[in-house]
């Protein structure tokens, strides 16, 4: 028979004022299997805990119920006390006599009776409790960071600086991401490259960082602390061990008219190229789609130019395998491009640009060396219109969310324009100005007041070309809905920030969830913004939602700390409140029949297939198995299993059944 100890707390007078605590202890004390029952003023106090510890030893208790406050408050306290007395902590349960009883009912017979019922319920539960051991998972102390923009750079440096190895994977030939494309940054107008490039160099030189550029994640298997990543190193066609980065090949490459990705299509590049002069690594790759040799089998001019013989024509993609313990996703965002705004003429009229294109144009290293000139005829525009919310906050475009950064960069663009074209006239059409951030509102006010940017509250219906001008038809809703028509020389669209292309496929590879817009989903919108639902995979930057640089850097550092915390122990210790599939003696092995409906029900991909084989190696059956590293203990699988083959520790069938039966049996 069980030997349960019951400890009823007065909580000062919080419980005892409405509940007859002595009667509770007395009545519960008479229950079958209860060896000891007392009440005390403050169970959670030192003397209170000592009562429990002593009783555990004295009565050789195999279960403890504390009738006190909410278990959400003191369950860890009392479980620790039990553990200190040598009782498995998971044999201790709490009955909530305060929040769920004394505080919500008046002093009465019924209130005391309810308290008795609640304690009895937990006594019945605890009789069915089993001693549980914490789950220990070994941790590989190396991190994989996917994406080499500012988020990935920051996360990599922060993790590397805690002394752990980092593998940084970047899809493009250089790290740097969108931040390297920016001209100046709000709200300080400091040059983006000036603050970013030192970080890029630091990444390249850091002894703890292994950098794979021009590489993509092929697959990720495993679970927290124990991932195996396969990374595809795309063929660069250049041997980086000998290449000096002199750039002679680039000078001589005959294919010169390829739209430059780095310049957002405004400039051109060659087929063998480095994306931009400050690239890290500053060595070229050959774009095989556009290279004459790969297209037509002849050319090889770069090979003749190269004095160290670094060109490798028959180089193939390579797959490397890396064991890592944690992953930081920092794959960033993209901007909506052509064909998304037929009404604004983007892609149709050369002088309608995206914000990112304007950014390149305003950049001193850009295609126009920082001068604002119309792509169509090279003329400096005297009238420029900025359209904020181009796509964002527009459910009809499928983007109901706010892209967050556009208000600020549009103000910056208008400001930069006014600084560069003194007699120019700039107009911003906006829905609302969202300038939440340190010095942000002041920055926008400066654009309006000092740089005399004309802000018009209203949306633009259409942009069309007429006699070499772009006619912007919009509305000014502050002046009673007046229609406005502006004959502009250039139009800049603050295009919506969207999930990076391929993010959905990447999410599926990693088993992380994503929102309807393909941004990766955080584990909790408030309290777990850098975690994903897959333990051991963290988020940094705009891959989670559009965000600005300071926020991205903050999030990256946050993710890095999460990784460092995970790496601070050799083993990961987790609460054992996870699901288990029963195992029985042959010939049944388990009552699980392997229908795997639990697999689709599990939000964490914690259900694995386990093959049960006979001595001769033949397959007897395939059953479900819970990966303890991934299971978070929600129990959805348990309620779903028809044959009750899967159960969840801490809330087992027997435990909850006993609770329900106890509550209703009188």
């Amino acid at each position: 028979m069980s030997k349960i100890g019951v400890f009823i707390c007065h909580c000062g007078e919080n419980i005892s004022a409405t509940v007859d605590v002595e009667r509770v202890a007395r009545e519960v004390g008479g229950m079958e299997g209860v060896a000891h029952a007392i009440d005390y003023k403050y169970m959670c106090s030192d003397p209170g805990q000592t009562f429990i510890k002593e009783a555990v030893k004295k009565y050789n208790l195999d279960g403890v119920v504390v009738g006190a406050c909410s278990p959400r408050m003191h369950e860890p306290t009392f479980r620790r006390a039990c553990a200190e007395a040598g009782l498995n902590p998971y044999l201790c349960e709490m009955a909530n006599l305060r929040e769920h009883c004394s505080w919500v009912h008046e002093k009465s017979e019924e209130t005391t009776e309810k308290a008795i019922d609640l304690v009895k319920m937990l006594v019945q539960k605890v009789k069915k409790n089993k001693p549980l051991d914490s789950i220990k998972v070994p941790v590989t102390k190396r991190a994989l960071v996917i994406g080499g923009g500012i988020a990935g750079i920051q996360a990599s440096l922060d993790i590397a600086n805690t002394g752990h190895k980092v593998i940084l994977v970047e899809r493009d030939p250089s790290i740097g991401g969108h931040m390297s494309q920016l001209s100046e940054t709000f709200p300080t107008l400091d040059c983006s490259q000036c603050i970013l490039t030192p970080r890029m160099v630091e990444v390249a030189q850091h002894p703890n960082i292994k950098l794979y550029t021009y590489a993509e994640l092929e697959s990720l298997e495993g679970f927290i602390g124990n991932f195996t990543a396969k990374i595809r190193l795309k063929a660069k066609s250049v041997d980086y061990s000998t290449c000096t980065g002199c750039g002679a090949c680039i000078q001589k490459c005959p294919v010169k008219k390829i739209p430059s990705e780095f310049n957002a299509g405004l400039g051109t590049r060659t087929a063998i190229y480095v994306p931009f002069p400050q690239a890290v690594p500053n060595k070229p790759v050959i774009d095989r789609v556009n290279c004459n040799y790969y297209k037509r089998g002849a050319c090889k001019i770069c090979e003749k130019t190269c004095q160290v013989g670094s060109i490798q024509w028959d180089r193939e993609d390579e797959i490397v395998t890396e064991e890592v313990g944690a992953v930081v996703l920092a794959t960033g965002f993209d901007v909506k491009g052509a064909d998304f705004f037929p009404e604004y003429g983007y892609g149709k009229y050369k002088d309608v640009l995206t914000g990112l294109q304007f950014e390149r144009m305003a950049s001193a290293s850009g295609p126009t060396f920082g001068e604002i000139r119309r792509p169509s005829d090279g003329v400096i525009p005297k009238k420029i219109v900025f359209i904020a919310c181009a796509g964002s906050r527009d459910p009809a475009k499928g983007i109901p969310y706010c892209s967050k950064i556009c208000c600020m960069y549009t103000a910056k663009h208008a400001m930069l324009y006014q600084h560069k074209v003194h007699d120019g006239e700039s107009t911003v059409f906006y829905m609302d100005i969202r300038a939440g951030g340190k010095n942000y509102e002041e920055f926008v006010r400066r654009a309006i007041e000092e740089d005399t940017v004309n802000y018009v509250r209203g949306r633009v219906a259409r942009v069309y070309e007429k006699d070499g001008k772009l006619i912007v038809k919009g509305v000014d809703t502050l002046l009673g809905g007046q229609q406005v028509e502006i004959e502009a020389d250039m139009v800049v669209l603050a295009t919506a920030g969207v999930a990076n292309c391929g993010s959905e496929q990447l999410a599926q590879k990693l088993h992380v969830s994503y929102d309807p817009y393909h941004f990766f989903a955080e584990a909790h919108p408030k309290l777990k913004p850098v975690e994903t639902n897959t333990a051991g995979i963290f988020l940094a930057g705009a891959c989670q939602a559009p965000k600005d640089i300071p926020e991205t850097v903050g999030m990256a550092s946050g993710a890095a700390v999460k990784v460092a915390a995970l790496f601070s122990n050799d083993e990961l210790v987790r609460e054992p409140l996870v699901a288990v599939v029963n195992r029985l003696a042959p010939p049944l092995y388990s009552t699980c029949v392997g229908c795997f409906m639990c697999e689709t029900a599990c939000p964490y991909n914690a259900i694995e297939h386990e093959d049960i084989r006979g001595r001769d190696g033949s397959l007897i059956k395939t059953i479900a198995k819970v990966n303890e590293g991934l299971c978070q203990g929600c129990g959805t699988c348990v309620a779903f299993c028809r044959s009750k083959s899967i159960d969840i520790q801490g809330y087992t069938h027997e435990q909850v059944y006993a609770e329900v039966m106890s509550l209703l049996n009188d």
């Binding site: 919500v104 309810k114 639902n533 939000p603 309620a639 329900v660």
Partner: protein, 154 residues
């Protein structure tokens, strides 16, 4: 049923740990009062709540049942409540087909911030069940042969 005013319904509440249990805690810390008829059983998630537990509750003499968890999109485990919602849609439909009184099961979303909603929910449910009277129909079949035995004892 004329004596309904004297009838104290037995109501059992199945709630998830993260939203409704915490919401009921908040009811306590806010010192809002509600009827003593409801007793809470704590689950990790509404996704864990087995429909058989609801049937067993009626069999054991519950007059009413509350099932409550996180609002859609708020689930601590992201989707346990969505699974639960589907399960309850189907379960309710079966019970209704079989003629079980589905008015006696109150489903609800109560978040950790909705302490007053929990108090309201309990009070309303108690009043509703009180007006429906004891669930004698189900008791009658439960009493035939098997009431009282709790067959999980070691």
């Amino acid at each position: 049923m004329s004596s309904n005013t004297d009838f104290e319904p037995k109501i059992i509440a199945f709630v998830c740990n993260w939203c409704t249990y915490a919401g009921a805690d908040l009811t306590g810390t806010s010192r809002l009062k509600y009827a003593t008829n409801v007793k809470i059983v704590r689950f990790p998630c509404t996704g864990r709540i087995d429909f058989l537990l609801l049937l067993k509750s009626f069999a054991q003499g519950a007059d009413g049942i509350i099932v409550s968890g996180c609002h859609p999109n708020d689930c601590h485990y992201t989707s346990g409540n969505f699974h639960a919602r589907r399960r309850w849609i189907a379960f309710r439909s079966i019970l209704d087909l079989m003629g079980v009184d589905i008015r006696r099961i109150q489903y609800s979303w109560v978040s950790a911030a909705e302490g007053s909603k929990w108090a309201d929910l309990v009070n309303h449910t108690v009043a509703d069940i009180r007006s429906l009277g004891p669930y004698q129909e189900y008791q009658k079949i439960a009493d035939y042969l098997e009431k009282g035995g709790y067959h999980g004892e070691d």
